[in-house]
Assembly symmetry: C2
DNA sequence: TATTGTGAAGCCTTTCACAGCA
DNA sequence: TGCTGTGAAAGGCTTCACAATA
């Protein structure tokens, strides 16, 4: 950080000073992070932008520019220190602390998420699960995945979100329930929603929404297979 | 289609004549399609670009321009016919026919996908499932999800992909198996791979890859919650 | 010497604004 | 009249090319 200092340290937290960070950069940061975890697992200490670029399928200048938005993390002539870069990316993304999550809808997908190991590795902690029929859920999944969290009736959503300091809700209900659940999450003062259900969902202005549509990934793949 | 005819009909198939279609447009088409399905379910016959834009959180001009790459689908003064537009989008994406899929790795996530209803609705058909320990899988999931497809040993992948005309492989193995499975799928002459495992995967030039990293969606959400 | 950090150029995408049309 | 289709302008992102430097 020298000429134009791109980062401010406020109370020990790194923040982008110039908030004109491209959305695409943020998306790529996630993928760079996966790359760092992978390289760390292979005991690589240092990685050049060229190496990172080739793993993540992007241009090397892109990689350097993406990092440069947030500071000077590299060593000229060498590359980037894998451990340090990993730490920096986590700080930038805000995932250098635990995020407490509720899963709403404990069907097949929901129960898969309850035991999804990659969430835990990344400091994402599912601390509550809700369903319309908690007793049936327990019968359905308990012998298979154990009992990672108690399954509660969805009526208790607001109370429990508040009591357990839950900031993010994941919707894994059937599509016809998705909007209702979103409304309940908003009512419970959730901060962000990740919608796994294949239905469009509206939120209020102050609740961030991300959709994760499985078929969209397939649609995209198929388009490029067909054209 | 009038001045610059953006579409050719070759053997009954619509194709983009000028292939300079933005990638972002293709991503949005998927979301417009979900919107159309939703509106159709609500018995809406016609939708303006403004309505579609507001549901999909984009600009109305964007919506019109996206469609205009492929033809003139709208009616001035009216909007777009929901059913027709849905059909057009499916044609453009190439999902107006069945796509045969194999799921590799029948753990919690894999078995959730085997019975994921939205795939079927969209003409995505899972016609084979593979695991390292098929007998154990059957014990694990059969009483819960029934037996949508027979679970086969992964050794039979190449043979079965060929015999069943499978074009797409979905990887839902633990991360440490992902690359090996990708290599086997490539060896089996698969056309495209959708990687659900949280590990980076390399493919050969002629095999298209899409990653669907759950934590990336969370990372992105969290970044915007933190900043 | 190898590789980063970065202005500047070029390219791509979005938005505006309005002509064209049902 | 109301909404689409689209040229042109604006804006944003990526890539190039090279100075800076460990």
């Amino acid at each position: 950080m020298k000429k134009k200092g791109k980062i401010t340290d406020i109370e020990g937290k790194k923040m982008a000073k110039f908030s004109k960070i491209p959305e695409a950069t943020i998306r790529r940061l996630s993928s760079y992070l996966k790359c760092m975890v992978d390289l760390e697992g292979k005991n690589e200490k240092v990685a050049s932008s060229a190496v990172i670029a080739s793993i993540c399928n992007v241009n090397a200048a892109q990689v350097r520019k993406d990092f440069a938005y947030f500071g000077e993390f590299g060593i000229r002539g060498m590359g980037y220190n894998v451990k340090d870069l990993k730490r920096h990316i986590k700080e930038i993304l805000g995932i250098n602390r635990e995020w407490r999550i509720a899963v709403v809808g404990v069907g097949n997908m929901g129960s898969a998420l309850l035991v999804y190991k990659d969430f835990l590795k990344q400091n994402y902690k599912i601390v509550a699960a809700f369903d319309l029929y908690p007793e049936m859920v327990i019968g359905r999944i308990s012998e298979r995945v154990g009992k990672p969290v108690e399954i509660l009736h969805v009526d208790r959503l607001k109370e429990v979100v508040s009591a357990r300091n839950i900031e993010i809700g994941i919707i894994t209900t059937p599509p016809q329930e998705a909007q209702k659940v979103a409304d309940q999450l908003i009512e419970a003062n959730i901060k962000g929603i990740l919608n796994f259900s294949p239905a469009p969902v509206r939120t209020s202005e102050n609740v961030k929404l991300r959709n994760l549509f499985f078929t969209s990934a397939l649609d995209n793949l198929v388009y490029y297979l067909s054209n």
